[in-house]
């Protein structure tokens, strides 16, 4: 089954626009400040669209509908909570950090905790680990879209995807990333909403769609503790649904690839307004993804052209057949559910829009992480920690060099990623919030936050979150079960071990109360002053 010319045209147009943005912005990013923070001149609508596309990764576009496909209605709450969590950043971190106006994600920690070298090394560790995982996964996401929709072999898809992202990040740095991400934010919202509307139209309305989902799988709609059973064992009890809500809820306010976008806003008001616009774009896309994920099973089983060819009895068997056909283990079979659902509607125009949206969301996250990583590795590590003279004298060149290195490493990883790497994306998200979230949020909003507590957060929760996550995965069969279930004979679901986020805030507060606070002038400058408009 080859790619339709209309679909190919959409993809080519998309790539032309990406190349165009890279070429157009190459002169706008000649100074280091422009390259790293886009000259702090980005307006709210553009920044809002860029924020949405950066934050929402292929894990959103492919993974979340797949989770709804597997788990059923209770997983809707995960998507609702991600969008509900975005506005929290407006007052919590966006405005104070824009007022502080740093260049690198690590700058605030160094100044607030009065430790320029040790703190930079400490904070960069979880960021680099998570960043490498995220860039790898986003590159895989881009390649999957190209392979599944454009029918390009997986390895070639990887190479093309990486080359395009590298082209515009290399030339235009944060300026190119901002404009390309803004365009990508618009495209991903259009793609998801258009596909969802097509599905609703196919069934003749939301009521009919809801009924068709029920007819296909009566358990889909069951909430936890229903007398009629449960849609999936992980959401049989209330802890499953509540933990689903909190997995990604606080990420927008604390994740490095969104926080650095706050630095680029033209002023405090623009930073806060950008978040409103990110909800406009992100919320629209998520509305569509919920419809697609919910309808995927019934649409695939009733309409997909390969159901008969594969002799598949249900959607899961068809997706398994697709995975075999593509010949890669870079994604779980269910990750194809979203693409297969839209493919089943047999509209090349729809697939064309979907490929542009899918490539958009995957490439924007890759680019967003690349600009975080190249600043940390090039400016922070080479320039400030190792005091390399060449890096200090050539700030743009060193960032470009690290963009190449990071992307090459992640692309090589992506060729044949171990299953563990794919799974670790969930851990990568939780570990960032549990380790560097408390020192960031409480550093701004609490005078007593201390350096010792920051060190303790990273040293304790980096290994602890990894251990609990791996233990649950290996021993209990899924990282979504509470890791001590076996020891206590419980059956509690805690998605991605996300309770560590709350535990880490409590531990940070306790250690701060027991250790020496920062000097009063430091607290005044990097905490109290930043809270005022």
């Amino acid at each position: 089954m080859g790619a339709n010319p209309i679909v190919v045209t959409f993809a080519v147009l998309y790539f032309v626009i990406m190349f165009g943005i890279g070429w157009w912005t190459r002169k706008a990013a000649l100074s280091a400040t422009d390259y790293m923070v886009a000259g702090r001149n980005v307006g709210p609508v553009v920044n809002g669209a860029a924020l949405a596309s950066t934050y929402l990764s292929p894990a959103s576009f492919l993974g979340l509908p797949a989770f709804i496909f597997i788990i059923g209605y209770p997983f809707w709450w995960a998507l609702i909570s991600i969008i509900l969590g975005m506005p929290i950043a407006a007052l919590l971190t966006a405005a104070p950090l824009r007022k502080y106006a740093p260049v690198s994600f690590t700058d605030y920690y160094c100044d607030r905790y009065d430790d320029q070298v040790g703190m930079r090394i400490l904070i960069s560790i979880p960021v680099i680990v998570s960043g490498l995982l995220y860039v790898t996964l986003s590159t895989i996401g881009t390649a999957l879209f190209m392979m599944a929709i454009l029918k390009i072999p997986y390895v070639w898809s990887l190479i093309i995807a990486s080359a395009v992202v590298l082209f515009y990040v290399y030339l235009g740095g944060m300026v190119a990333t901002t404009w390309s991400n803004a365009f990508q934010g618009l495209m991903m919202a259009i793609a998801a909403v258009t596909a969802a509307l097509a599905i609703i139209a196919h069934f003749g309305g939301l009521s009919e769609l809801g009924h068709a989902i029920y007819q296909n799988n009566p358990k889909f709609w069951l909430p936890p503790h229903s007398r009629l059973g449960f849609s999936h064992p992980l959401v049989a009890g209330w802890t499953g649904m509540v933990s689903v809500f909190f997995v990604w809820h606080y990420g927008f306010a604390t994740m490095p690839y969104t926080v650095v976008r706050f630095f680029t806003a033209m002023d405090l008001n623009a930073a806060r307004r950008a978040i409103f616009w990110s909800v406009v774009f992100g919320g629209a896309m998520y509305w569509g993804l919920i419809i697609i994920g919910s309808a995927a099973k019934v649409v695939i089983e009733t309409l997909h052209p390969l159901m008969q060819t594969f002799g598949a009895k249900n959607a899961v068997e068809l997706l398994g057949g697709l995975q075999k056909m593509y010949g890669t283990t870079a994604a779980a079979a269910t990750d194809y559910s979203m693409i297969a659902c839209v493919e089943a509607l047999k509209s090349p125009w729809l697939m064309g829009i979907l490929v542009a949206g899918g490539l958009s969301i995957a490439m924007s996250t890759t680019a967003g992480w690349l600009v975080v990583m190249n600043v940390i590795l090039g400016r922070d590590w080479m320039g400030k920690i190792l005091k390399n003279k060449w890096a200090q004298e050539n700030p743009v060149a060193v960032l470009r060099m690290w963009s190449i290195i990071v992307l090459v490493i992640c692309t090589l990883f992506a060729v044949k990623p171990p299953a563990m790497v794919l799974d670790l994306s969930g851990w990568a998200f939780v570990v960032i919030i549990a380790t560097i979230g408390p020192p960031l949020v409480l550093g701004i909003w609490w005078d007593r936050a201390t350096r010792a507590a920051t060190y303790a957060s990273v040293i304790i929760f980096l290994p602890l979150t990894l251990f609990s996550w791996l233990y649950a995965r290996q021993v209990l069969g899924s990282p979504h079960w509470f890791f001590l279930n076996k020891a206590f004979g419980w059956k509690i679901a805690t998605f991605h071990q996300d309770y560590w986020i709350f535990v880490s805030f409590i531990v940070f507060i306790l250690i701060s109360l027991l250790t020496r606070p920062a000097r009063p002038e430091i607290v005044q400058k990097y905490s109290i002053d930043l809270r005022q408009d």
């Binding site: 209605y73 809707w76 709450w77 998507l79 609702i80 909570s81 969008i83 509900l84 975005m86 506005p87 929290i88 407006a90 007052l91 919590l92 405005a95 309305g205 939301l206 009521s207 809801g210 029920y214 889909f220 709609w221 069951l222 909430p223 936890p224 503790h225 229903s226 007398r227 009629l228 209330w238 649904m241 509540v242 809500f245 008001n269 806060r272 307004r273 978040i275 409103f276 990110s278 909800v279 406009v280 919320g283 629209a284 998520y286 509305w287 919920i290 419809i291 409480l442 909003w445 609490w446 005078d447 007593r448 109290i528 809270r531 005022q532 408009d533």
Partner: protein
């Protein structure tokens, strides 16, 4: 802790988590299932969850948390200007 945070932040959080708690509790306590309860003829979650909570509440909070601090800042600026004028006249 959180000294200097605009009170509207806490009001917004109360709205968000309050509504989430009410809807989740309602779902858990609904004996049949969410599918059998309809709003405007469609399964209720399509309305209260996928439209109201996802988009309307999120956009309202996004608006609330930029509009109110901006207005407070404007009022402070105007009050400062008025005080300055009075001082100059005196």
């Amino acid at each position: 802790m959180f000294k200097g945070m605009h009170p509207i932040f806490w009001a917004g959080l109360a709205i968000m988590y309050g509504l989430t708690f009410i809807f989740m509790l309602w779902e858990i306590l609904t004996p049949t299932s969410t599918y059998h309860v309809t709003i405007f003829g469609v399964p209720a979650p399509f309305i209260y969850n996928n439209i109201f909570m996802l988009y309307i509440v999120s956009l309202f909070l996004g608006w609330l948390w930029y509009y109110v601090p901006e207005q407070a800042e404007r009022k402070r600026r105007e009050a400062g200007a008025t005080t300055g004028e009075r001082e100059r006249r005196a």
